[in-house]
Amino acid sequence: MTLVHIQGLDVGYARHRTISPAVTGLDLTVAQGEVVAIVGESGSGKTTTANALIGLLPANGRITAGSAVVDGVETAGAKERVLRGLRGSVVGLIPQDPMVGLNPTQRVGAQVAEAVRLRGGSHTEALAFLEEAGVPDPEMRARQYPHELSGGLRQRVLIAIALAGKPKLIIADEPTSALDVTVQKRILDHLEGLVRGQGIALLIITHDLAVAADRADRIAVMRDGRKVEEGNPGQILHFPAEPYTRRLVEAATPAIPRPTPASPAVPRSTPASPAGPRAEPLSRFEPASPAVPRLEAEQPAAPSPEPAAHAELGSPAAPLSGPAAPDVPGPATVSRPTSDPAPASPAFPQAKAVPPGSPTPPPDLSSFAGGAATVLPRPPREDVGDPSLNGAAILAYPQGKTETSPTPVLALNEVSKIFPVSDPRRGRRGFNALDKVTFEVPRGRTHALVGESGCGKTTTLRIALGLESATSGSVRLDGHEIAGLSWNRMRPLRRKAQLVHQDPFATLDPKFSVRQSIVEPLVSFRVGDRRSREARARELLDQVALPVSYLDRRPRELSGGQRQRVAIARALALQPDLIMLDEPVSALDVLVQEQILQLLAELQRELGLSYLFVSHDLAVVARISHTVSVMSDGRIVEQGRVADVFTNPSSPRTRELVEAIPGRRANAA
């Protein structure tokens, strides 16, 4: 039986007396007991759809056409009283961020009980729901306030609240994206078990195709307010019809093979994939030579990688510096720069990227099997495997400096950091943020620091940059000790290492034009004169594939991806050896992430840059890094080549992180 029946739904937001559409002509059904996922980037209208279903559109939201029938009740244009009848008892909602989803001044038990009482239930019933949602010791927890619970537990309380109304449908709006991956996995598994066990329909709203593919019976992909594709996870993952979906699949599928090939996966009705799990490590890691990963993949500058890069991004003919770079709407470009379907197969050069000798997967498969290759598309080459040639191929910087110099560009040795914490009750004490962290960043390579939030990776980066001082240990930047250097002594060394920050919306001074931002380091170091700086600014913009006309723009006139490009240009201005990337893509949409990672890879190849890449996202790390250090609680628990660490994790923490990456289940099918 159909529980939700959406037909031709238009929803818009009133702004300045006009209505800007958020959802257009949406058709969607959810049957009883079915698990459906709506997948899309932010702004695709997925959350608006969910809000419309439960009658919780913001004050300026309007359903302008179509109908959305939930359990036989029309919600479009319904009165508040009717909608209230639906909320809780027919449709339950699990909101996005558990950290702020609960009333901070009310005990969690009371908040569950409130939902129970609405349908005349008792307080003990509330405890039962808490238990059901997986809250241990519900009697004790019920008396606590939200701030006394961890994020995961708060999410479980929210699940209990949603269950408490005994709904027929639960809407989970990005249910766990605010949580660490390991917690995320446990909670999603639990939720899925609950709804399947009780025959409740579940509508998952997510930006993460992998999360959706792991759990949904059916996936609807939304873009710009329209549904672009719908099907079961197998179809969507393996045979995406739309180019947009294909790019999503590509961006979302983790490139990390599983440590144990035959992990027991929940059986699913997805079509069997010709390339089984065992094929994945091959196609992913084959390009990397055992000694120096990815080295032989570097290429002479002559066969420019750019056409390939852009073909993959959907605008086949665009030159790198042209205004039609994907997240750069040029003057004549409409606001949806890449919606035109690119030629399907040629647009995905992964097949070509796989070096001769490795099994070439069919094109449609490579999109999810060849993660790393998608980031670094390489035209077919004759000379693959010839190390001497390749040594010369890293053109951008002097040979001796790179290949013969044994000094790593950055080396941390037993760096510890203790933050004084003043606790009103126990006086001052030390908080051990870093404990004997040791690693190095080889020249021309990318070293990644991964770990969950609070593991100390950002502190490490700040110490390496000299923005924070280490309590003990040595930090050598290009062979010079920087630990304990004063600001002025440090200053000349600062030219060697630059920073690209996480949040694109705060990384640029809103009062500065793009030009001012880019040349600021030059001004600070008194490099060049006005004219040479201008020339350098143009050159840098060109390197990050932004049109020169953007020089006079202010940050608010740029999109997130464009801002990040400007931040990268600024970091490049002083021609540093090393760029520290602090979660540079985590605030961006998946597709823009891809473009930025691509840009970083190209810049590394062209300029011989080294990167220190800090991220919580193992999938991203696997795409861009050569070596990796896994951090947990201020320590490095494991490090080595990406291929080794992720395929064969020795530390339980690493294994947990790798295990928790979404999308594994669907892949395994």
Binding site: Y13, G43, T47, P329, R491, A497, S559, G560, D589
Partner: protein, 289 residues
């Protein structure tokens, strides 16, 4: 989060360069325009009061004593037959002067305190902010009264007293802004790019802290006008026959029962000015957010 409830239709589409923003704002917000015009009118009248009246502020006319408001005398006349409209306009000069002095003190001292405290942090910050807390512990008008007691009466002492009373709020807002901007990634990026603290302060922190501080300055202009008028109402302002707005209102108070306009019309004149300043401040806040 709310951000997702109100998610923009196209996040990655770069916003177009804006232009003609002020005009469209003024068209969409007619009240804002009216408020701006009213404030402009009073500021102009403070410098050239004779532009708007043909009567002298101290010209008595025994034949036109306590006339009610009319087209000839907008605000009526007082017991000496002086034109009240003219007296109010000429009073503008003193009050606006006092307001500017008060704001000047508040801005200079408040900004300095706030920037120094926010920028240097640690002990400097603690000491300065404790000082500001102490200033805040003395209710504003009483602090002003102490200063007036010590300095004597007149426009300038009143202005100084009111200005000092506004300093703490200013210092706090400035400090909060400096602290906020100081930790922003672009400041860190500038530092990583080798910029000195002086450069960071002048090029990044100050320009970006300025908005909320300016909004507060407009709001505080209203507060200062009320405080100055109150102090002169209480009898601490300029000596007669010069008349600030507060003095005019206080004088008219004795004739309230027979000639209500002597007090209430100048009072309304002041109230509208403060209301306009509040509205301007609020609109600016909405626009810059």
């Amino acid at each position: 989060m709310t951000a997702t409830l109100l998610e923009a239709p196209l996040v990655e589409a770069a916003p177009a360069p804006s232009g003609g923003r002020l005009t469209s704002v003024l068209v969409r917000r007619p009240l804002f325009l009216v408020a701006l015009l009213y404030v402009a009118f009073i500021v102009v009248s403070a410098f050239w009061p004779s532009l708007f009246t043909s009567y002298g502020p101290i010209d008595t006319d025994p034949g036109a004593v306590t006339l009610p408001p009319s087209l000839d005398h907008f605000f009526g006349t007082d017991i000496y037959g002086r034109d009240l409209w003219s007296r109010v306009l000429h009073g503008s000069a003193l009050t606006i002067q006092a307001t500017l002095i008060a704001l000047g003190i508040a801005v200079v001292a408040g900004l300095t305190l706030g920037i120094v405290a926010g920028f240097f942090g640690s002990y400097t910050d603690s000491i300065l902010m404790r000082f500001v807390d102490v200033l805040l512990a003395i209710p504003g008008l009483l602090l002003a009264l102490s200063i007036v007691t010590a300095l004597g009466y007149g426009t300038v002492p009143v202005a100084v007293a009111v200005g000092v009373g506004i300093v703490p709020g200013f210092a706090r807002t400035t400090r909060a802004e400096v602290l906020r901007v100081k930790t922003l990634p672009y400041v860190e990026a500038a530092r990583a790019g080798g910029a000195s603290w002086t450069r960071v302060l002048l090029r990044h922190i100050l320009p970006n802290s300025w908005g909320p501080v300016a909004v507060l300055a407009v709001l505080d202009a209203g507060v200062a006008i009320i405080a100055i008028a109150s102090l002169s109402f209480l009898g601490f302002g300029a000596a007669p026959p010069a008349a600030e707005w507060g003095t005019l209102i206080a004088d008219g108070r004795n004739y309230l029962i027979t000639s209500w306009w002597l007090s209430l019309l100048p009072g309304l004149f002041v109230a509208l000015l403060v209301l306009s300043l509040n509205h301007i401040s609020k609109t600016l806040q909405e626009l810059t957010r």
